[in-house]
């Protein structure tokens, strides 16, 4: 029964996901503690809270995105070798991917709200953007893993190379326009201001669409995957 | 001319029983013969239960279907009979039946080979009879013909 298959995967993959969520929280706490110990005493609260803008996304990427790259190279083959269908493994993987991205967004929202005026970001817009970012990066990473399993090491290499090239291009464009226009810091604040309060931002939408496209590509690779 | 396989790597000893796995004789026939021999040797008595096919399969690491084939052959010949729900039993008169059967097969199985071999060695009939007489005298056990 397909339903049994889905439940099985929800149960098994869910355990992994819970571990990742736990590790994310732990990492954030560790970052915060580190900042607390290294910050000047009189501004400890300010520095630590402002830092969350970096801790939360970093931890979420670390535990939400990076393990996802190896899902189709390590975990999925085992699950498929034990008789699970590709459909159910993929479907449950997608469900948890969205859930984890949502978890990241919610976490960010909570942290920012508690931090109040010291937080670099605030409001629904920033959280939604983080959700979109995590979703996008996870989807991108998964395709790399799937390609590498299906096509071999060179698939992964080619894929990463392509991504690096794209990042460089964007980075150079960004950097040039920053140099031409004004200070980098000013740009970041403008960015933050632009994101605040806007119900749906362009970045977030682009991230979600991009993520969905990558997910579709992932299915195309996985649907006839052979276990080695 | 020999019945031995070209190399002996195929034989293994399983729980004291030597199976000739080179295919000289099917395993199911060997199972049947083993049970017959045990009946002759009073290891299995008439009206006593014989091991089930599953027990035989487990004991000798063979497929139960093979064990069943061997047992069924004996059932068809009336040497064993089935008691529903309980198992297989040795029929009365089985011992005599087996002796008769083997006597009948004695000619094909032993005599023909003996004569053929003797002929290829140019042993005369007198020499052959003399050898048989000598062998019978050397036999210490009088009662039971030695069965293998």
């Amino acid at each position: 029964m397909m339903k049994q298959g889905i439940l099985r995967n929800l149960r098994y993959q869910g355990r992994n996901q819970l571990q990742m969520a736990g590790l994310t929280l732990l990492t954030i706490v560790l970052f915060a503690l580190f900042a607390a110990f290294t910050a000047p005493i009189d501004r400890i609260g300010q520095v630590v809270i402002a830092g969350f803008a970096a801790y939360v996304p970093t931890a979420c990427v670390l535990w939400g995105v990076t393990p996802g790259i190896s899902f189709y190279t390590v975990i999925a083959p085992y699950l498929l070798s034990m008789g699970s269908t590709r459909k159910t493994v993929f479907l449950v993987d997608q469900i948890y991917k969205v859930v984890f991205a949502a978890f990241s967004g919610v976490l960010f929202y909570i942290v920012n709200t508690i931090g109040g005026e010291y937080s670099a970001f605030s409001g629904f817009g920033a959280s939604f953007t983080l959700f979109a970012l995590i979703f996008f990066l996870s989807s991108m990473g998964e395709v790399g893993g799937a390609l590498s399993y299906r096509v071999g090491k060179w698939g992964m290499v080619f894929y990463i190379a392509t991504l690096i090239v794209i990042c460089l291009v964007i980075g150079v464009a960004f950097g040039l326009s920053a140099a031409a226009g004004g200070e980098m810091a000013r740009m970041m604040y403008d960015l933050a201001a632009a994101m605040e309060g806007a119900p749906v931002t362009l970045f977030a939408l682009a991230g979600i669409v991009g993520g969905a496209l990558f997910s579709g590509a992932c299915w195309l690779i996985v649907r006839r995957m052979a276990i080695k | 001319m020999s019945n031995e396989p070209i190399n002996n790597i195929g034989s293994t000893e399983v729980k004291g029983l030597e199976w000739n796995l080179s295919g000289e004789k099917s395993i199911y026939l060997q199972i049947g013969e083993k049970i017959e021999t045990e009946i002759l040797r009073d290891i299995l008595l008439e009206e006593e239960r014989v091991p089930s096919t599953n027990e035989l399969a487990s004991a000798y690491s063979i497929n139960p279907a093979t064990a069943a084939k061997g047992i069924n052959l004996l059932v068809d010949q009336g040497i064993l009979y089935k008691k529903r729900g309980i198992g297989m039993f040795v029929a009365s008169g089985a011992k005599q039946q087996i002796i008769q059967k083997r006597k009948g097969a004695f000619y094909e199985g032993f005599i023909l080979n003996l004569v053929r071999e003797a002929q290829s060695l140019a042993i005369t009939e007198e020499e052959l009879v003399e050898m048989i007489r000598r062998a019978r005298e050397e036999k210490i056990n009088g009662e039971m013909p030695d069965v293998h």
Partner: protein, 301 residues
């Protein structure tokens, strides 16, 4: 006890333009122990992968209990394919511990019998806290055996389960297999290179040769059809005139021919009145005679 069958029709598989499996059709009857034998590279593992939907066939269909297996969870729930665990897989699968692997199995095999698994682990003396990458070849085999047996799946397939096991462990495996079979009547397919030991356990035998199905037959009947006829060369040739000769050896004037009879035929017809010896062949010997003359297909499966 079990009426789930597994069959394939006209299955072929191509890898980079090369046809590694060619038009294979067969039916696995329920409640039988099958042996699958073939040389390295003959296509055994590929065939098993395709039968269990772990590898898509290029052509042909595979059905289980009347339904196609591909991406069909209810069909796949009847099957367990316990393959050789490869510790040298890439990307950190070395981090899996045996007990984690077994936990995965307990979730994914609907008929998993945890008590039986525990008993088997004790019998084999497995340390479940060890990581898969650190296991010896023998222990890897034992893990695949535990998973296969404890899965209690109606159709259980083991790919080279005794590779790496010493003779005592191998005997133990055959024992366990027979015990399980007599208790459950499951269907088993066991592929192996160690033919003669396992021959008594197989009710039927499947022979794959160079990507083709050579035969699928009752073991005892198959073995009864093969003979080695030996004697003087001319006599042997005359006797074998109407027989299928798979292989022959010469030594001086003496020749041995390895022949196959048709079902129902009798060897006596061929050697009567001639100065010839004929004796039966073991499963291993007949397999070598049948498939031994081509160059090996190379390492790996």
């Amino acid at each position: 006890m079990n009426n789930i069958n597994l069959s394939c029709e006209h299955v072929s598989k191509d890898y980079s333009g090369k046809r590694v499996l060619n038009d294979i059709s067969l039916t696995i009857e329920p409640g039988c122990i099958y042996g699958l034998i073939g040389r390295n590279g003959a296509g055994k593992t590929t065939l098993l992968s395709i039968l269990t939907a772990q590898n898509p066939a290029t052509l042909g269909t595979v059905t289980c209990a009347g339904e196609p297996v591909w991406e069909n969870q209810s069909a796949l729930d009847h099957i367990c394919f316990s393959r050789e665990l490869n510790p040298t897989n890439a990307y950190g699968n070395s981090s899996y511990k045996v007990k984690e692997y077994l936990r995965m199995a307990s979730v994914y095999y609907p008929h998993w019998d945890a008590a039986y698994a525990k008993r088997l682990i004790d019998i084999f003396g497995l340390d479940t806290k060890k990581r898969i990458a650190k296991l010896s070849k023998g222990m890897l085999s034992m893990v695949t055996i535990v998973v296969a047996l404890a899965s209690r799946s109606e159709i259980t397939i083991l790919d080279e389960p005794v590779a790496g096991l010493d003779v005592v462990s191998r005997e133990r495996f055959y024992q366990l297999l027979i015990e399980d079979y007599t208790e459950t009547g499951r269907t088993f397919i066991v592929s192996t290179h160690i033919i003669e030991e396992a021959a008594n356990v197989f009710e039927k035998v499947i022979i794959i040769d160079q990507g083709r199905l050579r035969l699928i037959e009752d073991t005892a009947e198959l073995v009864s059809r093969f003979f080695a006829i030996s004697g003087k060369e001319e006599e042997v040739d005359a006797a074998c005139a109407n027989l299928k000769v798979h292989h022959s050896d010469m030594m001086g004037r003496s020749k041995t021919a390895y022949v196959e009879l048709q079902p129902g035929d009798n060897i006596k017809h061929y050697i009567e009145g001639r100065e010839l010896d004929a004796h039966g062949l073991s499963l291993q010997k007949l397999f070598v005679a049948m498939c031994g003359d081509e160059a090996p297909m190379g390492e790996g499966k």
